[in-house]
Amino acid sequence: MEAAISLVMIVKNEAANLPVCLDSVNGQVDEIIIVDTGSIDGTCAAARRYTDKIYHFAWCNDFSAAKNFAIGKAAGEWILSLDADEELISGTGDLRGLAAGAEHGAYLLPMDIPSMEGSGGYNRLLALRFFKNRERYRYRGRIHEAVHDSENGLVGVVQGPLIRHKMVTLREGNCKRGRNLALLKKVCVEDPDDYFLQYCLGTEWMALGKPEQALPPLRQACQNLAGNSPLYHTAALNQLINCLKTLGRHDEALYVCREGINCYPGYADLYYHCGMLYIEEKDYRRALEWFEQAVKCGAPPALHSHQDGTESFLALHSMGYCHELLGSPEQALQSYRQALDVNPAYAYPANNLCMLLCAECGPGHALQYFMEEGLLGNKSIALTAGNLFFTWGYPGLARRCLEIYLNSWEADEYLLLNLGKYSTFSGKPVDGMNYFNLIPKECALYPDARLYGTIALLLAGRYEEARGRALGMWKSRDRRRAVLALKLGRFMEKGGDICCPGAVDGADTADAAMQLYGECCLYLPEGSDYANHSIFILLAGLEVVLKGSSRGCLSLIEYYRGKYHQGEQFFNYKINLGQKIQAG
């Protein structure tokens, strides 16, 4: 018979996350042990749908104690340990197979932690989460608890299954952090020789934006973790370099990098760090060399803390940037292209690429390039490029970035909203309205869609329908924007003054009006439809609304100031780019 696998978890107030996690292990474990440390949000009820082995453990400021308690309840031969904000990615590996052919008593599983929202980037770590249900494997450490093997046996490393950590939002993170920090300080005093704890302490300080405080523990950790497992040492090195970089102590950071490379030759993350540090120093030629090295390194071996992309798309992105500043737009273009090819989900290089092409040969050619190279086939690139074209005042080009998704399953509400805006502001309000109408009521973007739909109706001269919509907004308590839409409608239809600010006017109206104003300013019809003056009447109306309050005036002024500086910047960029194009 196969060896049974027990999933063990400790949870507190995780009703929202738990189902995702438990669904992800469906069929891969034989038993689920949930230890609740005092939830009040129905976590237990959520858990009960998956298992009846739910236990309560009084929280005693000690993560390990709780985990070990949970392990104690497990009957399986193997233990899988997960947190509620993690999930197992199906198809990335087979736990049962791993257990059946096991050569070791414990395994490090790969774990991805998303690095930035929407970027698709992540940090890949290794975590000891799969081990035999034996007395020798027990958690240690009150916080940042880790499984410890009392017999110091060998630990296996596998490529899968993969654990994915949920995106941590800033607010959530800070909340947890305050709690962690207090705990950590305490245990560090109790156990000053545990340098892993020092590393954790430094990491918490960094996350709280206090690099000065982070530096001493990180230094300690780096010095003393050397020679042990690279897993913690490399993580500490990366954190120390980040810390020194944040403090502007680049020379020291570079020194740490070089030391680290002596220790771990071919470890891409460190080469990447060097490149980034030389960028800070504005030595782009050097930076370029380091990035090239990072790419040559490839992904590091197991047990190295690794930020995904430092060996490929992140390095390539930075290489493009360096090439640009060194006056080789051709090579910059190539690097950006490679970055996008490696990881299309990481769309930032698309921004640089688009800017570069706009400056070099104009927005029309830039779009042509994106089309001919098939880059728009990737949605995040298409959205990035569309947004950039729109921001630069070319809604027609922006529209063409997204139009290809029209009948595709990938056309989500966000894309439709943007496509609607781009259509409306490129002189096709009726098309725009159709796209806005596709966004269903229950969608979070619906209020926006309704407002823009009303604007599109106004631009199409369909005042009666616009008024109907605005009244609908009023009824569903979207009152400020309803008033704005009604006023604009009346102004456009009948002219004259916009009535004075009423009871519902206020800061929000000004902000809504400002956003609308900024977008209307980007209006640029395609073809020869310059005779449509309604956009200018609309803008005039918005201006009157904005000038009705000092806040509105302020945002108008800021808007134009921003546009001016943006324009200056772009122009200088363009000029310098041109200057650097040598005919060689």
Binding site: C358, C361, G362, P363, G364, H365, G393, Y394, C521, Y523, L524, S528, Y530, A531, F536, L539, K547, S550, C553, L554, L556, I557, Y560, R561, K563, Y564, G567, E568, F570, F571, K574, I575, N576, G578, Q579, I581, Q582, A583, G584
Partner: protein, 657 residues
Amino acid sequence: MSAKISLCVIAKNEEQNIRRCLDSVKKAVDEIIVVDTGSTDDTASIALACGAKVYHFPWNGNFSDARNASLDHAGGDWVLYLDADEELAGEESRGGLRRAVKDDSVEGYFLKIINYLGAEGHIESHQDVVFRLFRNRREYRFQGAIHEQVAEAIKEKNVSAVFRLAEGVLINHYGYLDSSVDSRDKINRNLGIIAKEMEREPGSRELRFYCGVELYRAGRYIEAARELSVAAEGIDVDTIYLPKLVRYIIMAYQAAGEPEKALRTALGSMDFFPYYADLYYYAGRMYMELKNYVSARDYLLKSVSMPEQPAHYASFNGVRGFRSYYHLGEIMEEFFNSSEALKFYLASFRDNPDFTPALRKIVHLLEPRRNTERARKYLQQFSFCTPRANMLAGELLFRQGAYGIALEYFQKAGENQGATSEPQLWVAACHIQERRYKKSLRILKSFKPGNRLYPRVLMNKILACWLHSDARQVQALAEEMAACGVSEDMKNVAGILAYAPEKGNRLNRLLPGQEGRELLLDIVTRLLGMNETDRALCLLYSLDPASLSGLLLDMARIFHEYDQGVGVINLLKQKTTDSEDGETHFLIAEILREAGKCLEAGLHYRRAGELDPGVSRYYLRQNHLYRHRWEQLLQEARHKYPDDENLKKLGEGVTAH
């Protein structure tokens, strides 16, 4: 006794040139030998009349043979040889020649030569050195069927022969002027000879160089660039003609519409000739063509800072001066920096007072119509002393609508010139512009039919009467015009003034040719200059739609310049429905901006930038617009909310900016 000099010339059908050539050397040489290689015109008899000994030598397709035939007849101690389209320049050259032949240590001399090229009114020149004076010895004979030369032959016979540059001697060469009657035939003849030579000597770099140069002259730029590049491949850097070769490669690429290649050649040659001004000049010009104005400026500035050029560089005149300054001015204008532009144009004009494009720009930038006094003062610093200079200044001012000052210059130019001189015609035109019709007509009356200026006189009369609303007189004059044999265009324009001056009258639409278009632009400018916007518009509407669309942009620019752009904005917008271009949108935007329609203007700036992304002006203007709005709104808001702290802070920011 002083050494005797024989002038040797070979000539064929040079009756236009030979006299100038021979007269220029008469007092400088002791003997003139002309070998005629088969003229069918009066070349030989003119030469005889000039005192030459004329010999005949049948043309055999070989320049050296002909030259050597002339040497056979030379009896002097020294030989000077010239081409018929050259001349010895001035008294000083004669003295220089005499001094040169006194030096016993020298076997031969290089002389400076100035080549003139271009057409009348736009003549350019560049300097070079050529070997033209040597001791008359039996063994010194020409070699080479084309670009025959003797210097090397002398060196072959006499290794220790010393050559020098003859101080003070200068040759003018007119053969490259467009007016040189049969330059094209000459080029083809030369190409034929070179082709034969190259068959015999396929490896010769020099022949390839000559071939490239001839191809360039023939306007076959792509072939020229190819031949010249081959000639330059792997060449010894010390080759005396290499700088010239490089410049020809650059010029050929430029003329072939390949500015990148021209630029690459210029930049790549700087390592070998770091002080060759032409390389920097052309690099700057190519960057301009590529709309990279920052680099263009850098290289043109380097060009003007170059030291005196060695003679064998054959540097294009003005690259270290007026030419570079002029283009620097253009670049500054591209960035709307009028004061810097003015400085550069001034530097250009000071470096070469004959370079009228610079003066034209200066007058334009002075805005003499708006700043009359400033312009008057500014122009006083130049001493326009000749009638021609005064005429030029007057014309430029007239075209800028500054009729008062223009009149002063024309009056100065007309002093002692008689009542029917060209300046008088301009004086009359000025009077029309200032609505002194009678005074003007009195002056115009002194011109009689048969005067070469008479058609223009008539046109001015017509304009005066038209403005004076004397319809009958206008018609009579138009008929007189038709009868006196002027061009079709002129007749038609006069006809329009006489018969169709109603806005919206769409009969007999006019389809003018080049001359008519220029005339119309002229008249429209003058009408706008005297605030006759309706009449100007009515001329526009009298045009056939096809001609109008071709002329509209130029017309609209004039309207805009005279603050009447709003009158033509609908025509411009209409034009964009057929075909869009950056300049039209830019002009619409400019007009709208000045009319206070900033939002709409922004839209057209953006479209211009999309259609023509390389033009900096579009971005700059759009940004000016943002800045203008920012400041305007701030002022408005501070007035409206004087107590708002945030606005106060912002206000301080602007003042500090």
